[in-house]
């Protein structure tokens, strides 16, 4: 219960100073505000289907802030917290979730992949990038994030296996949010934990509290550093909870109890961090208001940019299939132009 009151075990805590803790808090707050805004816009018909990260902010902020700019990151579809920290313009996130292809374009200075929609298939990509880094001798690390459902896929196992065999600089971060749509963790695997799967692939596996931003940050940072130094891969299972529906197209009350949700609401990572900050006298109401105001301003600015952007030229669909369009793409584009 001490944890729920924001009472950290100080013997385990490394000394995050006020500035760092505030950075965690402000990033988590921004992610949550963004999430709320996206849900509103979806309900108003101004955004398409959206996958909420509510409850998973500590993992995403803790891990996101552990990455260095030269590292690579391979996201799943429930990862806007890390996207924001990595510097993806917020308007791109709105583009993506409104079905606008511009949302998939990663800025040139950012080494991240766009979201993978097929569950788990991006795991081998991360392994391949890590392999590339090892072959080229670049001292970078790769982070790949995914859910508990993804651990049931072959891609996960083949990726873990390759990373283990070739000792690749990659960190596998599983956000075990207990549910894969309506299927509970207990239906994904009969193993007691997900972390123990690492043993079979010859790498370190750790299970951590995914609602503890300090723990997530420390663990991920250490794993990434180990990877950068040639120490090989790590698998991290961060235990958390998806507080919202699977997506805006889902109704989670069909398959899980409100008691369960209520229990986890008490462990809300933002609430916890706030309690901790209060105990340290680092939190005031006016600070919270100011943080919230800053988030709102950034988000509203992004909504404006997103909604006021001119539409994409649909002829573009022919332009990026190959570096040089093949003769039939040239022909099809001509016909398409005439029809329009």
């Amino acid at each position: 219960m001490a944890v729920l009151e924001g009472e950290a075990d100080h013997s385990l805590l490394s000394d995050f100073d006020e500035k760092e803790v505030k950075r965690f808090y402000e990033s988590m707050e921004l992610a949550r505000s963004f999430d709320e805004k996206a849900l509103h816009l979806q309900r108003q018909g101004r955004l398409g289907t959206y996958a909420s990260i509510r409850g998973q902010e500590a993992i995403q902020v803790g891990a996101g802030l552990a990455l260095q700019p030269s590292d690579w990151w391979f996201p799943a579809f429930r990862d806007i917290g890390i996207s924001i920290i990595r510097g993806l313009p917020l308007k791109n996130l709105f583009f993506y979730w409104s079905g606008d292809e511009r949302g998939n374009v990663i800025p040139p200075n950012q080494n991240d992949f766009p979201i993978a929609i097929p569950v788990g298939t991006h795991i081998p990509h991360a392994v391949g990038a890590a392999w590339g880094a090892k072959i080229k001798g670049d001292p970078i690390a790769v982070l790949v994030t995914f859910g508990d459902g993804a651990t049931s896929k072959g891609d996960f196992h083949e990726g873990m296996n390759l990373a283990g065999v070739f000792s690749l600089p990659v960190v596998f971060l599983c956000q075990n949010n207990q549910w894969a749509i309506s299927v509970p963790r207990s239906r994904q695997t009969a193993s007691q934990t997900l972390a123990q799967k690492a043993i079979a692939y010859g790498m370190t596996g750790v299970q951590i509290d995914g609602n503890d931003v300090f723990g997530v940050h420390q663990t991920t940072k250490a794993a990434l550093e180990k990877a950068r130094k040639g120490g090989g891969p790590t698998f991290i299972e961060a235990v958390t909870y998806r507080m919202g529906d699977h997506t805006t197209a889902d109704d989670a009350s069909r398959y899980r109890s409100s008691e369960e949700v209520k229990e986890w609401e008490k462990k809300d990572p933002i609430l916890r961090l706030k309690q901790y900050m209060k105990n340290k006298n680092w939190w005031t109401q006016s600070y919270e208001d100011q943080v919230n105001q800053n988030s709102q301003n950034r988000i509203l600015e992004a909504v404006k940019e997103y909604e006021e952007s001119p539409p994409v030229d649909p002829g573009e669909i022919f332009d990026y299939v190959f570096e040089k369009p093949t003769p039939d793409l040239v022909e099809q584009k001509k016909i398409f132009r005439k029809k329009k």
Binding site: G128, Y320, V321, F322
Partner: protein
């Protein structure tokens, strides 16, 4: 230059491209110490070391998926899938990721990789070793499909495939890996997307690729004795397809027979026939014929001769088309 078989020509192309570009990496099952089950990668490990010639675990999805990440990171992975029949676990990685990476990121990332696989029947191999599923890949936007049918072309096309900035599926006709030897001329590259006239003629056009080219040439030789001059076109690249060359030949001959060892229905023969009727209908003297495999699984070795197109079947189709 000395005479080489098709598989030796592939080996040569790999050696040359690896020597000229340090980013080219060869990976797959048994490609290192063993030099590949068909010996296509023999000597590469010794020449380029373990970092660039990687014996992987048995893991088709993992290998192709990792190659996508490697390619995005700046390498050019040349992946060997031991037989085309074992590529299916990696289909998702090929279709959903390799072929789409450029499109979905508006060229922010792209996927310069080559997937090599021996394909086709006639080698008396066990089940799943004789697949000819090129049409599956032809249908996928974002991937090129290349099939050489001579040693010189194998070398030249593979070099072009490795230098291509987009993913290429390079299908190697296992049946003719060692059956033809040829002096490899020059160091010319054959551009992807350009077909070749293997034999000129004025009466009928035969269109083929891979191991079927030799079969089509035999049929052309057979009808020559009756005074029928068949033109034989080797497609070389299936996607993008050199339809200009096909149409040009059909306009000259007025008749066409397409030969492939893949199952008839939904095969590329249908696609080629459609292009011909769209672009050269008024030049046609007869319907275009197709000689192809059945829509059955490719039989085990004892029966595969009944499945695979042979010169007699092609000769029959030529007669049918000429007497229409």
């Amino acid at each position: 230059m000395e005479k080489l078989t098709l598989v030796q020509a592939i080996n040569l192309a790999l050696k040359e491209e690896m020597a000229s570009n340090p980013n080219v990496v060869v990976m797959g099952e048994d490609v290192g110490k063993d030099g590949g089950v068909f010996r296509a990668t023999v000597g590469l490990l010794e020449a380029f070391g373990e970092k660039r010639v990687i014996d992987t675990p048995l893991s088709e999805t993992g290998i192709v998926g990792a190659a996508v990440g490697m390619a995005a990171y700046g390498l050019i992975p040349v992946v060997e899938i031991q037989f085309l029949g074992f590529i299916y676990p990696a289909m998702e990685q090929i279709i959903s990721h390799a072929a789409r990476l450029r499109t979905r990121t508006k060229s922010r990332y792209h996927c310069p990789m080559v997937i090599r696989a021996p394909y086709g029947g006639g080698i008396h191999a066990p089940e799943h070793h004789s697949e000819s599923s090129e049409a599956l890949f032809f249908h996928v936007p974002g991937i090129k499909v290349v099939v050489p049918s001579t040693p010189s072309d194998a070398r030249a096309l593979l070099k072009s495939a490795i230098r291509d900035p987009d993913p290429v599926l390079f299908l190697e006709p296992a049946r003719i890996y060692r059956s033809i030897k040829e002096e490899i001329k020059g160091d010319g590259l054959v551009p992807l997307g350009e077909a070749r006239t293997a034999k000129t003629g004025k009466d009928i056009t035969l269109i083929a690729w891979g191991a079927m080219l030799q079969v089509a040439l035999k049929a052309a030789e057979a009808v020559q004795k009756e005074g029928i001059e068949a033109e034989v076109i080797d497609l070389r690249t299936l996607y993008p397809m050199d339809t200009d060359k096909i149409i040009e030949s059909i306009k000259k001959t007025g008749r066409g027979v397409i030969v492939h060892e893949a199952p008839l229905k939904g095969g590329l023969g249908g696609e080629i026939a459609a292009v011909i009727q769209e672009k050269a209908l008024l030049y046609l003297e007869a319907p275009v014929s197709r000689v192809a495999g059945f829509n059955t699984a490719i039989p085990l070795p004892k029966m595969e001769q009944f499945y695979l197109p042979n010169p007699e079947g092609i000769v029959e189709a030529i007669h049918r088309t000429l007497c229409f």
